[in-house]
């Protein structure tokens, strides 16, 4: 009885937000391995959605399905549906390059191109549209300010990006993604190779960015999810165990597996 009333309360909370992305019965196989097993989740607009779960639970495969970067993986089969702004993105006539300008992605390991800091910020956007010199400079300054990198690098924009620290490189990668002006930003464990200070900087940035963007954040760090998540998705062994508002899930998880995982980072599935 208690559970049911809680569920209905949660659904009321859920209805106040718009879901920008909906996954319906998503199955993914890589060769014979069933990586995702019928996932139904929704990603609320202008919120931070954290995907948590033990390693090998399919978090990365899930997030990588949303911008179809998984398409090039050898032996992948996808079934089910992903809706973005109301239309399916898994059809064969989806313009994948244009989809990826709307759904940007930041990876676990920062990957800067062997170019200058400035060129790295502009790397994606300059292939999409012509920018004047002034527009370029404005964009670089604006995006580097957003990721709080401007003060550190404004005097050496033409230096090689590889000369930055790993934490700075990751922020540069985020700036590069923002420059393309996506609606959604997918982040696949973006802080797992960073020091605690850079990690905090990125977490604070996410909280600010959610006003403009929808953020999907994969993390194996439960404390991190607790700090930043609005919406929480818990995966284990390729199955969705539970999803809902982060506050509700952290305070009273519905599922015993979720409870065990949030408490001991252990999942018996």
């Amino acid at each position: 009885m208690e559970q049911q009333s809680l569920k209905s309360k949660l659904s009321v909370v859920g209805k106040t937000t718009v879901d920008i992305i909906k996954l319906e019965g998503l199955h993914v196989w890589i060769k014979e391995n069933h990586i995702l097993d019928g996932i139904d989740v929704n990603i609320p607009k202008n919120k931070i959605t954290c995907i948590i779960g033990p390693s090998g639970s399919g978090k990365s495969t899930l997030i990588r399905s949303i911008n179809r970067i998984n398409d090039d993986v050898d032996g992948i089969t996808t079934q089910g549906n992903i809706n973005f702004n109301g239309s399916s993105i898994l059809t064969s006539d989806t313009d994948i390059a244009s989809l990826r300008t709307q759904i940007g992605m930041v990876f676990q390991k920062p990957c800067v191109f062997p170019k200058s800091i400035k060129e790295n910020v502009l790397f994606g956007i300059q292939h999409l549209k012509k920018l004047s010199k002034i527009e370029k400079l404005q964009l670089v300054e604006q995006k580097l300010k957003t990721v709080s990198l401007w003060k550190e690098v404004s005097h050496r924009l033409n230096d090689k990006a590889i000369s930055l620290s790993i934490g700075q490189q990751q922020r540069l990668c985020i700036a590069r993604t923002l420059a393309v002006k996506p609606e959604v930003i997918l982040l696949d464990e973006p802080t797992s190779s960073l020091d605690p200070l850079s990690t905090r900087a990125i977490e604070d940035m996410m909280v600010k960015l959610k006003e403009e963007y929808t953020i999907v954040f994969v993390t194996h760090n439960i404390q991190q999810a607790k700090r930043i998540a609005d919406h929480l998705i818990f995966l284990c062994d390729g199955k969705l165990i539970e999803q809902g508002s982060a506050r509700a899930m952290f305070s009273c998880p519905q599922n015993s597996q979720t409870k065990a995982y949030l408490k001991d980072e252990y999942c018996a599935c």
């Binding site: 911008n67 970067i69 390059a97 790397f123 994606g124 999409l128 993604t177």
Partner: protein, 282 residues
Amino acid sequence: MNRQLKNKLFTYATWIAVVLSTTILFFLFGVILWNGLPAIDLNFLTQASSNFGASGGIIYQIAGSVLMVLFSALICLPIAIGTAIFKSEYLISKKLHAIINTLIYSLNGIPSVIFGIFGLILFVNILGMGISWIVGSIILAMMILPTVTLSTYHSINSIPTIYRESSLALGLTKWQVIRKVLLPQGFSGAITGLLIGVARAIGETAPIMFIATAFSGVAFPSSFSEPVSTLPTHILALAQQATNPDALQNAWGSSLMLVTLVVLFSISALIFRLKHQTISKR
């Protein structure tokens, strides 16, 4: 025998192998330098040959050799880059990879004289292109194609996947990723392979002797359909008149010039590779 003694013996054995192989190289260079240097002076390098090569210089032979390998490089490069991109970025099936590898290695293993006969039959006889340097360039391009293709493939393929994914995730199309990310990085591998291929091609005699070269009466070509004279075929012709000491002297001089060109290309390849290391190795 105890382990330490075995270890020592093995170390000595490898040392002997190194000394043997380098001695052979230095012996060869030494002999060529010793016999070739007296033949070389400014006249030898700047004049045309006369008296069936026994007197005069080798300017047209140098020009013919360089012209032919430069064009073979130009013909080979786009085909090699195209094959390498296809193999690295578009070909998923492991089976097809194995088949293509076998084909590339087979092409590399074909004896050079077979290329010559093939060129003679196809280009000179059937297509009626005549004995001309451009046919020689085409045949040499075929010969160095495997080296250049594999070198380009390895440098493109060794670029970590994250660079491809990072660019794709920014909304670049596959072709943009190839053009903006992979090719600039893979280009150094292509040039290194090309220089190694050219170093090999410039020394080839068998594939070009029936189809591209003439021994005497040849100047700098004014069209694609003329034969040229080249260093290796010149050496071959001079060696056949070994009883004439002047001809032999010029054969040594030409050999020294040829070896110098080969070494120049090889060293350029080495310098180029060291200067332009791909992102994967940083």
